[in-house]
Amino acid sequence: MILVNGQTRSGAETLGALLGELGLGPEARGVAVAVDGEVVPRSEWKVRPLADGARVEVVGAIQGG
């Protein structure tokens, strides 16, 4: 199991696979991802493995400031 934006979810093998399940391809604009408190560059999404228990945060733009 992994934790995605605070919700438990069955694990995907890679970050790229998880984001694909969420409808986010590598070209998704205005989106960034952190795993276990560290930003994962877009270029590494596809290959980044997700360990059991990984905490994934997927963020995007909202109005503010």
Binding site: G30, V31, A34, V39, V58, V59, G60, Q63, G64, G65
Partner: protein, 269 residues
């Protein structure tokens, strides 16, 4: 038409060229996007304001409801200024800034580190620590800060590209509560000073510029106005008026009257 010319003159003064963090901005008015009831109202206010730079925030995405904010901002042709709104520690703010750089491909960050929920006042030690870290990582750091001349000087010393003191608490609309401190910050600063919170209406923005600020960042005063586009136009004009007044040189305040009409030649009646 006379009034139209006047309006254009003010807009031109607000857009008299403004260097910030290595880029040239087309307007001295930076627009915050928070609080607009719809993207249509936001787009209308961007156009009316003439701004070239608008803030955005980062939050967990809802994959079902995404996309159009960035599209609207792209269509408006404005540059994005991501903020770290809601961060309470240097650690959170630094991580949020890194996420924003990855999401938007910009090195600009409006650094907010909040120390108190009721007033949303900045947490000075955390702010300074975050600023130092982000400058070291190559960010162009624009810190939202207290109206404290000493803290402003410390933020400049660690390499911030501007300082953005509050006039009064975020969203309060109370204007500039301590104009003396804002003047002191402007006199001492070697980087641009942007008045960043508390604007309630156009006259507050004019005062900021008259005190020596280089720009104004405004969200709620425009987004929560009854007519946001009209208020955006008013505040852009006020920024221009303030620039002109500052350049023109105001008369000193004096405790007594000084007649503007000479008494020489007054008839004995």
């Amino acid at each position: 038409m006379r009034s139209r010319e006047g309006e254009l003159g003010l807009a031109a003064a607000a857009g008299d060229g403004f260097g910030l963090g290595g880029r040239e901005l087309r307007s001295r008015l930076i627009l915050g996007t928070g609080g607009f009831a719809s993207l249509e109202l936001l787009a209308g206010a961007i156009e009316a304001s003439g701004t070239g730079l608008v803030t955005v925030a980062l939050r967990r995405i809802d994959p079902g409801a995404r996309g159009s904010l960035v599209d609207v901002l792209d269509a408006a042709g404005v540059e994005l200024l991501p903020n770290t709104a809601g961060c309470h520690t240097a650690r959170d703010a630094v991580l949020t800034a890194r996420l924003a750089r990855e999401a938007f491909g910009t090195d600009l960050v409006k650094l907010e580190v909040i120390g108190d929920e009721r007033t949303l006042l900045p947490d000075a030690p955390e702010l300074l620590a975050a600023a130092e870290e982000l400058v070291a990582e190559g960010f162009v750091v624009l810190p939202y800060t207290n109206d404290d001349p000493v803290l402003a000087r410390r933020l400049e010393a660690v390499g911030c590209a501007a300082v953005m003191p509050l006039g009064s608490p975020i969203g309060s609309g109370m204007g500039i509560c301590n104009p003396y401190n804002i003047s002191l910050i402007c006199e001492a600063a070697g980087v641009p000073v942007i008045l960043d919170a508390g604007i309630g209406t156009a006259s507050d923005a004019a005062l900021a510029m008259e005190l020596g600020c280089d720009g104004v960042l405004c969200a709620s005063a425009i987004s929560r106005a009854r007519d946001p586009a009209a208020m955006a136009r008013a505040i852009a004009g006020a920024v221009g008026a303030g620039v002109l007044a500052r350049g023109a040189g105001r008369i000193p305040r004096r405790p007594q009257a000084m007649a503007s009409t000479t008494s020489a030649g007054r008839p004995e009646l």
